[in-house]
């Protein structure tokens, strides 16, 4: 085996008085894809940030090509060819795609920026990634998965010797994941060392050569991927055997709760209609950009729309989220950082933000808020090292759990969940699936939007599939299969409703 290009020996990391990493040993080799897995808050992102020079280790040693190294910052690491794609986006929202890709390394012709060349190269990179975004579009106008593709394009545009990717596929659909994997394989062949985390163990099994498991800041095992099964990985992460991921699907009633008729959002959703019954889990499938999120936001009163939405017979006005929420319909956004949580505020302030009127008027009852936070932390297994910390310092998965807790705080009748388990570890995923089944069993109705096929198939008893802004088909019971969903999502089958097979 080759010598490691970048390694950690006995690395510890503390934030204030709390030690997060306890003596981590870890090595990356050229031409090897190394996966780092672990539960939410285990310290994966922290380890990666130390490797890429974003954080200093509190103790221990970073080694670069056999020599001890102490990065002065991420710039120095980048100059050496250590490139990191963060779990959260690092894009300047108001700048265009090409400006972001070349941010800080703009191409010049003389004194002036060479816009043409930058635009062309960006288009080239996006082409390699089969991403159809126009390089001139401002980043705040493109979808979440496209943002991730821009991040990847940005990383590919640098000459990487070590490429570190923190949950790159969390926001991608399977098609885009394939595209990314093709790029990873190309880079591996070129001798780049690749470090990668994901909560999707199937992916890890497929793409990684070596897998290392981190539990509570300690390395628990490191094996060649060929030697371990997905179940082994999950057990090592969680520290116990996991039972079935998906609970049995509860039977639902026939009474329609939510009826959306002819929803149109100009340019993104065309004449979409759907009905949701009491106690039902309805899935919405489709490729990224097919209008799933926009349809959900239109129903939840977050977008201007035409068409009607009726909740238990009550008409909900367009573009008025408060009415929808009061009537018992809530939406959990896929854009955690941009629309879900206030990163600079505490857990408590985030949890109660949408429901402050329930916590006392005119004065907010702090005790009740703290009590609500207590039960959220317990119910959703939120791991926060410190109770008063800013939400932005929580690990990504724990942010997602807090967002779930916040969305469900109003005790809603209808819940639309956009990517419910994005960035969540397998143990917690199981808990969230159980939670969704429990909500349904209690008579609540749930719409799940997901890019993860197994999730749609495992949770939903009925799935509508969108393609290019239209609902192109509906599948029920035994017809809910990966093949059927994909065929509809690609636009291969026309507007027919093929119910039970």
């Amino acid at each position: 085996m080759t010598d490691p290009i970048l390694a950690l020996t006995g690395v510890t990391k503390s934030f204030g008085p709390i030690e997060i990493l306890h003596g981590v040993d870890f090595a990356l080799h050229p031409g090897e894809v190394h996966a780092l897995i672990g539960e939410n808050g285990a310290g994966k992102s922290t380890t990666m940030k130390i490797l890429a020079g974003y954080l200093d280790p509190t103790g221990g040693q970073v080694t670069w090509q056999g020599k001890p190294m102490s990065f002065s910052g991420s710039e120095q690491a980048e100059d050496l060819g250590i490139i990191m794609i963060h779990q959260e986006f690092n894009l300047a929202e108001h700048l265009s795609v090409d400006q972001n890709v070349f941010l800080g390394r703009e191409l010049r012709r003389g004194f002036l920026l060479d816009h043409k060349a930058m635009r062309a190269q960006t288009a080239d990179l996006l082409g390699q990634l089969q991403c159809r975004v126009d390089p001139a579009t401002p980043v705040n106008r493109i979808s979440v998965p496209d943002k991730q593709m821009v991040e990847i394009a940005k990383a590919l545009s640098r000459k990487a010797r070590v490429l570190i990717m923190d949950e790159p596929t969390a926001v991608l659909t399977e098609r885009e994941t394939e595209v990314l994997f093709a790029q990873i394989e190309r880079l591996r062949a070129e001798g780049v060392a690749i470090l990668y985390t994901s909560h999707k163990l199937g992916e890890v099994k497929r793409i990684a050569d070596r897998v290392t498991v981190l539990r509570d800041g300690t390395m628990v095992r490191s094996d060649l991927t060929a030697d371990v099964s997905e179940d082994d990985m999950a057990a090592a992460m969680v520290g116990r055997e996991l039972s079935d991921l998906f609970p049995p699907k509860p039977a639902h009633g026939a009474e329609p709760i939510l009826e959306a008729q002819g929803i149109t959002v100009p340019g993104v959703v065309h004449d979409a209609s759907l009905t949701l019954h009491r106690g039902e889990v309805l899935g919405i499938g489709g490729l990224v950009g097919s209008g799933r999120t926009e349809l959900a936001e239109a129903i939840a009163g977050l977008r201007p729309r035409s068409g009607t939405v009726r909740l238990k017979g009550q008409d909900l006005p367009a573009n008025h989220v408060a009415t929808a929420m009061r009537a018992g319909l809530v939406y959990l956004t896929e854009d955690r950082k941009g629309a879900g949580l206030l990163l600079d505020k505490t857990l408590r302030e985030n949890l109660t933000l949408g429901q402050l009127d329930r916590f006392g008027s005119p004065l907010i009852d702090r005790k009740r808020e703290e009590a609500a936070l207590d039960s959220a932390i317990a119910d959703f297994a939120i791991r926060a090292p410190e109770r008063g910390m800013a939400v932005g310092d929580l690990s990504g998965g724990n942010q997602q759990k807090l967002l779930l807790a916040k969305t469900l705080l109003s005790d809603p009748q209808v819940v639309i969940i956009d990517e419910p388990t994005r960035g969540i570890d397998i143990g917690t995923k199981q808990q969230i699936y159980a939670l969704i089944a429990r909500l349904a069993a209690e008579g609540r109705s749930i719409i799940v939007i997901s890019s993860e096929m197994p999730e749609l198939i495992g949770l939903a008893s009925r799935v509508v599939v969108m393609h290019a802004g239209r609902i192109v088909g509906e599948l029920a019971d035994a017809a809910v299969t990966e093949g059927n969903i994909v065929r509809l999502a690609m636009g291969l089958d026309g507007h027919e409703k093929d119910s039970a097979a």
């Binding site: 539960e39 939406y331 941009g338 949408g354 005119p362 791991r383 090292p385 109770r387």
Partner: protein, 331 residues
């Protein structure tokens, strides 16, 4: 899974940005005591406080506007305009109704209403027409300033002698030797602090300033809360004018000049983030006191020329912002 590993402790973290304004205030007071024995005299203290009251009352409202991610440059001109209008109407009423308490009450009501309406106009144009707050209030700042100059015909509007005598006590009298402006300022400051920290409105202001989209997705009525911050500020300008007019009994084109900048400066010195998302009213009160103590100290001593007042205030403002940047979001 052993998951709920959260320690239920609230950290007793001493944040520099939190205590810096208080430290600065204490240092100023100590310097004052050392330099001039009269500094802590009853007369000087009440004088400083009463003069701070106008800016202070306005700055309380400004704290909410800035916390919610807005800005209002028009408050100084607005105060001048409201004062001018109030005096003009009171003089006219004195002629027709023959003076007396009712005229004063009508004048006060008019000032409050005009302030509220002016704030409403700012707010509605910013929220509904989507005009950048900086630009819009820059515009209304010019409009109000020019209106008061026009009302005064380029000169000074003065309250009639009789009315002035009747109205005087609102500035000069008080209870237990504390004059009304100080009492009003204190009461409003306490109310403001409570509203900011313990009500949904205050929480919503901070949420909007922190990330407007998150607030909207959390069903916060973003536009209405924004509008309310400007209405609140306008109303507080009205209250400040009610306390201010009896002091001099006149208004001119230079009334309230640069008040907006002093109010904004006090807010920032107090630790409220200029970009919004976090605000505290008690900090603003400390900021107001710091600014007026600097002026007062320079007047009481002859170390430094009082003409350098602005320079020293400027240094303090810059220091405050540097401190904010270095310690990140204050809390």
């Amino acid at each position: 899974m052993s998951m709920a590993t959260t320690a239920p402790t609230r950290r007793p973290r001493v944040n520099l940005a939190v205590i810096a304004p208080i430290v600065a205030l204490i240092v100023l007071i100590l310097i004052g005591m050392a330099l001039n024995p009269n500094f802590l005299s009853y007369a000087n203290i009440t004088n400083v406080l009463a003069r701070s009251a106008f800016i202070g009352i306005i700055a309380i409202g400004m704290t909410f506007v800035i916390t919610a991610g807005g800005l209002d440059l028009s408050v100084g001109s607005m105060a001048a305009f409201v004062a001018g209008l109030m005096i003009l109407v009171m003089n006219m009423l004195t002629e027709s109704m023959g003076g007396g308490l009712p005229v004063i009450l009508i004048g006060i009501a008019l000032a409050l209403f005009t302030g509220l309406a002016a704030g409403f106009v700012n707010g509605i144009l910013i929220t509904r027409a989507g005009i950048e707050a900086f630009i819009l209030t820059l515009g209304t700042m010019g409009i109000y300033r020019s209106l008061v100059t026009w009302l005064a015909d380029g000169g000074t509007l003065s309250l009639g002698y009789e009315m002035r005598e009747l109205y005087r006590p609102v500035y000069y009298d008080g209870i237990l030797g504390i004059s009304w402006p100080i009492i009003v300022f204190a009461v409003l400051a306490i109310l403001g602090e409570i509203v900011m920290r313990h009500t949904a409105f205050g929480r919503h202001c901070a949420a909007i300033g922190s990330n407007e989209k998150v607030a909207r997705y959390s069903s916060v009525a973003v536009l209405r809360v924004r509008l309310m911050t400007y209405v609140l500020l306008g109303t507080l300008v009205g209250i400040a004018v009610v306390m201010y007019v009896p002091r001099l009994g006149s208004a001119s084109a230079t009334t309230g000049l640069l008040w907006e900048l002093e109010a904004i400066a006090a807010v920032i010195i107090g630790g409220t983030l200029l970009k919004g998302g976090f605000g505290r009213v008690w900090g603003t009160v400390v900021g107001v006191l710091i600014l007026s103590l600097i002026g007062n100290l320079l007047n009481l001593t002859d170390f430094v020329s009082p003409y350098l007042n602005g320079a020293i205030q400027g240094v303090v403002i810059i220091l405050a912002v540097v401190l904010q940047r270095n310690t990140g979001a204050a809390r």
